[in-house]
């Protein structure tokens, strides 16, 4: 019975990460995107803490704490400040419509399930399902990056992709802790670099719509 309940709760957390990915694709307003991203990081933290308890693997508690502090609190709050300072809290336009994006998203989820489940027949149930969901979150993050024009939401897509990586890492038994630490810190570094780029792009083009970057050929005329 406990085995079943453990599985169900892990299933609940990792699927809520996936559903929040769909929420990111659906949401158009920038603050809404940030809030959903914070919720997703919170769900990843819960999933990590639950896996730490279920696998009796205390290092995962540190992963959960990192996800909670940095990704659910620090990064969303910092982005909030950036968005306020750049005065870009208006609607996001998407390249293809929301409905089409959501349909693509469902197709990607089906693809990753069909891909992962036959490949991992030797692993445990929890690992297999976690891997399938993590791959879907990763692909949805990529989809978010290509379907948005605003640089901030593209970066949120990148960060939710990284949430998928963490989700994959916590499902695997005996993942070295160094790997997770380095992923977490590289995300922080990436965040700082992105933040600087926002201000640079904004200074140069007066907008964060990366569409304008395509025609730009440097300083030469």
């Amino acid at each position: 019975m406990l085995r079943g309940l453990e599985f169900d709760i892990a299933h609940l957390f990792s699927s809520s990460v996936l559903i929040l990915s769909f929420g990111l694709l659906y949401q158009r307003r920038l603050f809404g995107v940030l809030q959903i991203y914070a919720l997703q990081a919170l769900a990843v933290a819960c999933a990590a803490a639950w896996q730490a308890y279920a696998q009796a693997y205390p290092q995962l508690y540190v992963t959960a704490a990192i996800a909670l502090v940095f990704k659910a609190i620090v990064i969303p709050v910092a982005f909030h400040h950036i968005v306020l300072r750049l005065h870009i809290h208006r609607e996001i336009e998407t390249v293809v419509g929301v409905n089409m994006t959501l349909l693509f998203g469902v197709a990607l989820v089906a693809l990753s399930i069909l891909l992962v489940l036959p490949m991992t027949t030797t692993s445990g149930n929890l690992t297999r399902e976690n891997l399938a969901l993590a791959l879907s979150v990763l692909l949805l993050g990529l989809l978010m990056m290509i379907s948005r024009r605003n640089a901030v939401s593209q970066v949120i897509g990148f960060l939710s992709l990284e949430n998928g990586l963490i989700l994959a890492a916590i499902g695997v038994k005996g993942m070295p802790f160094v790997v997770e630490m380095s992923v977490a810190f590289s995300v922080l570094v990436a965040f700082i670099v992105f933040g600087m780029f926002f201000f640079r792009i904004r200074e140069r083009f007066d907008t964060l719509d990366v569409h304008y970057l395509e025609a730009f050929r440097g300083e030469r005329h």
Binding site: D8, H11, L12, S16, V106, V109
Partner: protein, 317 residues
């Protein structure tokens, strides 16, 4: 014999409870925004007043226009009577198939849209076309929810579904949670509540249901309003019967009358809890543009599709 009696009780119960639920939601919404609001019994008075008034019918209205209110009301009432509310072994419940219920509601909607176009005014036409747009998006979503539930429980019969959930073999199921959210979104669209349609407005640019029934008056309007109230109660009872059937009496024998009483009390509790949640939700959210409704319902469709996928995954492991 007793079960026939209880079926009769349920038939009357849904009819009498529906205006009270609507009035309760209205009063609660008024209180939540700081107004006093009418008493919860106001819909009864409105219906009574409308029933005594003369029905004014346009000159070029055909029999479709005149017969639609009674048919729509009868179909909605039938649908609400088919949902298990406080007892499971009522005679009509043998027909309580989810797909049949969707078909009944679909026919009611079809008749209503036909009647909206019958007189030929532009408002009726616009209301009907919008209603059909919402229906064409809501019906795939509700069917997919039904498929998810029936894949899991292996039945589309409501009494079986309620019995299965009552037996307690379900546990925490993500796919059922998703199906619940999708069903709530569809129910909001089907009953014309706030993010999709505003039941309290006659603003010409946004109204859907109100535009369709603009030509009606007197007893016709009373029947249509009552049908709409019964439809709201139907969706609340449906969600309660599938996802929270606890307290429903499984057998209505003579010695089980106490259980039936408990079921009745709990059913009333569930209905008013549903009304409370609806009022809170409607107060906290703004109505969306008509053309964003397709995104809202595509979200419901997507959630039910995800529910099916999750179910497939956890069963194929």
């Amino acid at each position: 014999m007793l079960s026939f009696l209880l079926q009769l009780v349920q038939l009357l119960l849904v009819l009498l409870l529906a205006p009270l639920l609507t009035g309760f939601v209205r009063t609660l919404k008024a209180r939540l925004v700081g107004r006093r609001g009418p008493s919860p019994a106001q819909p009864y008075r409105d219906l009574w007043r409308l029933l005594r008034k003369e029905a004014v019918v346009a000159e070029n209205a055909s029999w479709v226009f005149r017969s639609a209110p009674s048919l729509v009301f009868a179909l909605s009432w039938l649908a609400a009577a088919l949902v298990p509310t406080f007892a499971l072994d009522l005679p009509l419940l043998r027909a309580a198939d989810l797909i049949a219920l969707v078909a009944i509601l679909g026919s009611a909607r079809f008749l209503q849209a036909l009647a909206g176009m019958d007189v030929g005014t532009s408002f009726g036409g616009i209301g009907s076309s919008r209603e059909m747009m919402i229906a064409s998006l809501a019906e795939p979503a509700i069917l997919l929810v039904i498929f998810t539930i029936s894949l899991f429980i292996h039945s589309t019969m409501l009494p079986h579904i309620a019995g299965f959930v009552l037996a307690g073999e379900v546990g925490i199921r993500v796919s059922l949670g998703l199906a619940l959210i999708a069903l709530i979104m569809v129910a909001i669209a089907e009953t014309g509540r706030i993010p999709v349609d505003n039941p309290a407005t006659h603003l010409e640019l946004t109204m859907v249901h109100e535009a369709m029934v603009l030509e009606y008056s007197g007893r016709h309007l009373a029947l249509i309003e009552a049908g709409q109230m019964v439809r709201l109660l139907f969706f609340v009872s449906l969600i309660a019967a599938i996802f929270a059937p606890w307290g429903i009496a499984e057998a209505s024998t003579a010695e089980g009358v106490g259980l039936v009483g408990i079921g009745l009390a709990l059913y009333l509790g569930k209905v008013f809890a549903g009304g409370l949640l609806l009022a809170l939700f409607e107060t906290g959210i703004a109505k969306m543009r008509v053309f964003r409704v397709s995104e809202f319902l595509a979200g419901a469709l997507l959630l039910s599709l995800l529910a099916t996928i999750f179910l497939y995954v956890s069963q194929s492991l």
